[in-house]
């Protein structure tokens, strides 16, 4: 450990946090625009700062695309009255949004978002147990929601909190089980090694498609996105766990949900779609120039954005599951399927060796 390491880590940290926050802000915009297209509306197209109309061509165009909308949303959240309802359990009420956001932000630390640049690896923490770290942190995310439900001291948030704790535990098991075949095939828990293996042998989704399907569905459940957004089912639970929250505290829950979306997209890309690699144009080995390094990061970002669009698309195309259907899918379909998948993969590897 030396100063060089500390400084480079801090720089990478700042960039990662900045990029994730930017992605979160603009994925909210993407959510609104895509939902508008799907429902045959226009979506946000008015919001603009006063100087926008003086910029020729670009100004009106950006306004039409709603590019300034996230800024306005953020300002609105900041300046709304931070209201604390009577009868809430104060400490937990203030703690819950923070507890929701922190794990959501921590997950991206182990994800290799690029190969190398100069002699710096493009990953914040190249842990040997990267996957386990991610699962551990993701599993901490449930506390924010449960505590929010508990702190509100009212019926519907409580239901939301209880639902989410049951849902997240159920799907965590399927999620963990679905990744085991990947680990069996690669033989390493380090995410950089998993990407390295995929660079030489082809993308993991070709070897273990069932794993990918289970992982994707489980990550929808883990991020509380439709079709599994039962903790905040607004038709049954008003707003679920965040019913009593307003202004920036509510925004923090939003931030957590979208950060979780970013990190699960990144995980899917890393585990199943080769991370920063592409099988052609010589992009499948660590970069030897700055340009290649940037190209790798762009490839990773493009893959990740694709999955985020899938997240959004699914939300507006499919209805919500009923609670018993959700539990049935998690425990009676996915868990046995994942176990069989492990068995088959192990047998296949044994036959081959």
């Amino acid at each position: 450990m030396d100063w060089n390491f500390i400084i480079f880590s801090l720089v990478k940290l700042a960039i990662i946090v900045g990029v994730v926050q930017g992605l979160v802000a603009y994925s909210v915009l993407a959510e609104r625009k895509i939902s508008a297209w799907i429902q045959d509306r226009v979506g946000p197209n008015r919001c603009a700062p006063p100087f926008a109309k003086y910029i020729p061509v670009l100004g009106p165009l950006l306004t039409r695309w709603g590019m300034f909308q996230p800024l306005a949303d953020g300002l609105k959240f900041m300046f709304k009255e931070d209201f604390t309802p009577a009868g809430v359990k104060k400490i937990y009420f203030f703690l819950a949004p923070a507890v929701a956001v922190i794990p959501a932000m921590l997950t991206v630390a182990v994800i290799p978002f690029g190969s190398v640049m100069g002699n710096q690896k493009m990953v914040l923490a190249d842990l040997n147990v990267g996957i386990l770290y991610t699962f551990g942190i993701v599993s901490m995310g449930v506390y924010g929601i449960v505590l929010a439900g508990y702190a509100a001291n009212s019926k519907y948030p409580m239901f939301g909190g209880i639902r989410s704790s049951a849902q997240m535990i159920s799907y965590e098991i399927s999620m963990g089980m679905s990744v085991i075949p990947v680990l069996l095939i690669v033989g390493n828990l380090n995410l950089s090694h998993i990407i390295g293996w995929q660079a030489t042998n082809g993308w993991m989704v070709l070897y273990s498609p069932i794993s990918f399907i289970i992982f994707m569905v489980a990550s929808f459940a883990e991020t509380n996105r439709t079709p599994f957004d039962l903790p905040e089912a607004e038709t049954e639970l008003v707003g679920g766990y965040h019913t009593e929250y307003g202004s920036m505290k509510f925004a923090l829950f939003f931030l957590a949900e979208y950060s979780n979306m970013v990190s699960s997209s990144a995980m899917m890309v890393t585990l199943f779609f080769g991370g920063w690699t592409l099988p052609f144009w010589g992009l499948d080995h660590p970069a030897n120039s700055i340009g290649m390094g940037i190209a790798h990061i762009l490839v990773f970002m493009a893959k990740m954005l694709f999955f985020m669009v899938v997240f959004i698309w699914v939300r507006w195309m499919f209805p919500r599951f009923r609670y018993d259907q959700l539990m049935d899918l998690g425990w009676r379909r996915f868990l046995p399927l994942a176990l069989v998948n492990i068995l088959i993969t192990a047998l296949w590897l044994w036959m081959r060796s």
Binding site: M1, D2, V129, Y133, M140, V146, S165, A166, I169
Partner: protein
């Protein structure tokens, strides 16, 4: 600046962090069972989560990355969430008012006493000094040890868990006529 440089290069940061995490572990563990400010079971559960997290920090300092990650994943992430789930479904006020019973006190003292005895026995035979970190995040070495040298304890623990699982299923199942 010079002092910080020395601290970093001599590995003193890890010593400082050890004391921080050890203090945190002990403090949170005390607050789980004897919190002077609140007898709310949810608060106790949350302090138990903090205890577990700071313990995994201690594992990290021992370079046992796998154990640290599993500690958080299993205990903080799954077991404690189930605890919270149950606590939230129960009536909390009843629990907060409960008095200490003689039998509970006796059982507690006996179990704490035996754990302390085991600790002393283990510590008496251990030599002070820095153990070489053999399991530096290596799941391979850990798995190999579990299935060769420690097969019997491993299997016994597995059977114990299986028995507990069957017991839970039997207890929670509705009576069939």
């Amino acid at each position: 600046m010079e002092a910080i440089n020395n601290l970093i290069s001599s590995g003193g940061v890890e010593d400082v962090l050890f004391y921080v995490f050890a203090a945190l572990t002990l403090l949170c563990a005390v607050l789980v069972i004897a919190n002077p400010f609140s007898r709310n079971p949810v608060t106790s559960a949350m302090f138990l989560v903090l205890t577990i997290i700071s313990m995994s920090g201690l594992f990290l300092l021992l370079h046992a990355f796998f154990l640290a990650a599993v500690q958080i994943l299993v205990y903080a992430g799954a077991v404690m969430v189930l605890f919270l789930f149950v606590i939230m479904l129960l009536d909390l006020k009843e629990e907060a008012r409960r008095k200490i019973k003689f039998f509970g006190l006796a059982a507690g003292l006996v179990s704490v006493g035996s754990i302390v005895a085991i600790f002393f026995k283990a510590l008496a035979s251990a030599k002070p000094g820095v153990a070489s970190p053999k399991l530096e995040g290596e799941t391979y070495a850990l798995g190999k040890l579990l299935f060769t040298q420690y097969t019997l304890p491993f299997e016994i623990v597995s059977v114990l868990l299986l028995v507990a699982m069957i017991g839970v299923i039997l207890l929670s199942k509705k009576k069939l006529e």
